[in-house]
């Protein structure tokens, strides 16, 4: 233990850990670049990339700020965002606990099987008794450890006077163990230790698969308030500036927002003018011009000159926090959805329990004696225990979601797949969903030289239009020209010299629409227009949805005439000028009318609708909050993954139903045997593993069906 005094002595040198989300890393080269690049920064002790979670953990001295590190990452070519301490720790812990339990159950199952096989092969007398004792000694701690996830969940359900899949499992396992212990103590012929442990093993395999799938999908999804400025520079009474954390800001304060900084609170501009990037809030790609008295919202990024903003609402009163609240409430309605496995368990558990109770009563009345009646009742419980059912759903869903990842769709969990399969109406947001959501420059009529100079200039600036131009020219395979004396003037443009001529990429003179820049080479100027193009396969997607029996419509916050134009092109109806609350209302109305709507949207303004819809999909370019609210995220420029997701989800449900059908059919065959008292531990073990193998094999067919 170090004395506190020595820690205080050099706080600046004290090492702290900070985690950053870096969505842009894609290959081994990125890992090497980030780790080596960060290690060269002064004050960084070490950097370690977690590629699966798209995260980098940096160990650095306290004097080095988060902003410095984000900047360092940006210079390496990666956009990064500081992450909360470890948002995935909770999920991670659950899946690790399941894996440990699975390992323990596997160990127990193998060893007990070894002993059981010799008993089945004919070992008798003292050897059998010893093997039963050994099996019991292994099984008791194994069941106590590996059974905990089921026992605790069953207890929880019973406490609320409900029943779930875990109740029959727990009762079956506990009764089988208890009876086997009794048999062992009194030298009986049959012990069911291996069946109890095997049951736990197969069920844990299903649970672990389910939980690992969820973790994989959630990794890399950032948190909502991360984007909002975490602190602001506020003018003090004497005119000096001081840094105040976002949750201590109060209405009436005057804050200075530097270029490139995100606003930490809502407010009105008091001094300065320029442009802000409001994509976080509205999903619109075009920068919004602002001047004195314009209202600005937290989360917006100041693109040009510093602005002085008088705060009107801070912390939980901001527009962004209001949307977060709406999303939270809307999400509640979805949590009422009951997953298919639990729906099955509601019917299944009472049936199984009454069946084995009946078996016990029946054999008692027939005069079999309580010991034999109990053995038969437990055999019924074990053989009907939903081994195949526990695997039926997760096995199919894991195969389906892996197949979907290959096609660029990340589905968050099994319940999302189930709901996606049920939708009958699709509602699309316009900007960023039906369109690409980024300004693409029209570079058709530019000459080769103009393109080269334009690209070189555009690469110098972080203005959205410059980035758009750089991307469009990059797609057209242009090589940048060599520039000298480059300077960027905020609010005006980028200026440089190229081959002895003055060149510039600047704001067009006169009143031209905001989505254009002018490229000046010497005395010649050329206007480059930007458009937000429709995704190339939007029309195909809508018609394919039609063949699946799903009607489409547009629901957008954009102007009505822009929405109408898009609607005509796609031959679907559309409604514009909708506020987040109105989108929400329309969804509720549809749900009340018995429809099951699918929402496809990207902006934060779509967030509440995404959370409220029966199922939702967001493009990978959507705001963090929307990605978090959506059930699935699709990557890339195509819209077709939406159709793939629904198609695969429906196919998955077909397989799940087949699996259920098989599990029930198997019970119909096995239960009479158990009721007749013919099920020995050997038959129970064979039946159980066989049914699990069949279910898993059937689920694997999905991998092919998804192609």
């Amino acid at each position: 233990m170090t004395a506190p005094a020595t820690i205080a002595a050099d706080t600046a040198q004290e090492l702290v850990d900070t985690r950053f989300t870096v969505p842009g890393m894609r290959c081994a080269g990125c890992i090497a670049k980030i780790e080596r690049g960060l290690a060269e920064v002064d004050g960084v002790e070490s950097a370690r990339v977690n590629f699966s979670a798209k995260r980098v953990a940096v160990r650095h001295t306290k004097s080095l700020s988060e902003d410095h590190l984000t900047q360092a990452l940006l210079e390496l070519g990666f956009e990064a965002q500081a992450a909360a301490v470890n948002p995935l720790a909770e999920d991670d812990r659950e899946s690790k606990a399941l894996l440990r339990a699975l390992a323990v159950a596997g160990f127990g199952m193998m060893n007990i099987m070894l002993l059981s096989v010799s008993i089945w092969a004919g070992a008798g007398g003292a050897t059998r008794e010893m093997f039963h004792w050994l099996s019991g000694l292994i099984a008791l701690p194994v069941i106590a450890y590996a059974g905990r996830p089921f026992f605790s969940s069953a207890l929880m359900a019973l406490r609320y006077r409900r029943t779930n899949m875990d109740v029959p499992i727990s009762i079956g396992v506990l009764l089988a163990t208890g009876l086997s212990m009794y048999e062992t103590l009194y030298g009986g012929g049959h012990a069911y230790f291996e069946s109890a442990v095997m049951l736990l093993f197969f069920l844990l395999a299903g649970r672990a698969l389910d939980s690992m799938m969820r973790n994989k999908m959630r990794a890399g999804i950032g948190s909502l308030l991360g984007r909002m400025g975490r602190s602001a520079s506020v003018f003090q009474g004497d005119g000096s500036l001081s840094r105040i954390p976002a949750d201590e800001l109060e209405p009436g304060m005057l804050m200075l927002v530097a270029s490139g900084e995100a606003l930490a609170a809502d407010g009105v501009i008091e001094q300065g003018s320029g442009a802000i990037d409001n994509a976080m809030l509205t999903g619109e790609s075009a920068p919004q011009t602002v001047a004195r008295d314009s209202a600005v919202h937290a989360g917006a990024i100041n693109l040009l000159d510093p602005l002085q903003v008088r705060i009107t609402a801070a912390a939980s009163d901001t527009a962004i926090a209001e949307i977060a609240r709406l999303m939270d409430e809307a999400g509640q309605s979805r949590s009422r959805y009951v997953r298919i496995a639990d729906r099955a368990a509601r019917l299944y558990a009472p049936a199984v329990h009454s069946l084995s109770a009946l078996a016990f009563a029946g054999w008692m009345i027939a005069g079999a004696g309580w010991h034999q009646s109990l053995v038969i009742a437990i055999a019924v419980l074990i053989i009907t225990c939903p081994c195949a059912m526990g695997l039926a759903v997760p096995a199919a869903q894991v195969v389906a979601s892996n197949a979907l990842i290959k096609r660029g769709v990340l589905v968050k969990d099994g319940s999302a797949l189930e709901r996606l399969a049920e939708v009958d109406t699709a509602l699309f947001d316009k900007t960023g969903t039906l369109t690409l959501g980024e300004a693409r420059a029209d570079v058709e009529d530019l000459s080769e030289a103009e393109r080269a100079i334009g690209l070189a200039l555009a690469q110098q600036s972080r203005h959205p239009l410059s980035k758009g131009l750089a991307r469009s020219l990059g797609l057209a395979k242009t090589a940048p020209a060599v520039l000298s004396d480059v300077s960027e003037v905020g609010g005006a443009g980028v200026y440089a010299r190229c081959g002895g001529v003055d060149v510039a990429l600047e704001k067009p003179a006169g009143a031209v629409s905001a989505m254009a820049v002018s490229l000046r080479i010497g005395d010649e100027t050329k206007l480059i227009r930007f458009t937000d193009q429709m995704r190339a396969d939007a029309g195909d997607t809508v018609s394919r949805l039609g063949t699946l029996g799903i009607t489409s419509a547009i629901m957008s916050g954009d102007r009505q005439d822009a929405v109408d134009e898009m609607g005509r092109a796609l031959e679907i109806e559309g409604q514009g000028n909708m506020l987040p609350a109105e989108k929400l209302e329309r969804l509720y109305a549809m749900k009340a009318a018995g429809r099951l709507p699918l929402m496809v949207g990207d902006g934060l303004n779509d967030g509440p609708a995404l959370a409220a819809a029966h199922a939702s999909i967001a493009p990978g370019t959507a705001s963090d909050a929307s990605q978090q609210a959506a059930d699935a995220v699709f990557l890339g420029e195509k819209l077709m993954p939406v159709v793939d997701a629904i198609r695969v989800a429906r196919r998955t449900m077909v397989i799940v139903r087949q699996n259920f059908g098989f599990a029930i059919g198997y019970n119909v065959l096995a239960v009479p045997l158990a009721l007749a008292g013919l099920v020995t531990p050997l038959i129970a073990a064979i039946a159980m593993s066989l049914s699990s193998v069949v279910v898993v094999a059937n689920s694997l067919r999905l991998a092919r069906a998804a192609k």
Partner: protein, 50 residues
Amino acid sequence: MSGLAILIPIALGMGGLGLAVFFWAMKNGQFDDLDGAANRVLIDDEEDAL
């Protein structure tokens, strides 16, 4: 019978050892970043020398 007295503890011991190693590996984060581990093989160590 005397053979069993040796063989069974050996079988159990080996199984237990495997289990202990798995727990150790999990605690040490060996399974935290499987995709990363697959990619790290491709990183060229020579780059440092340049």
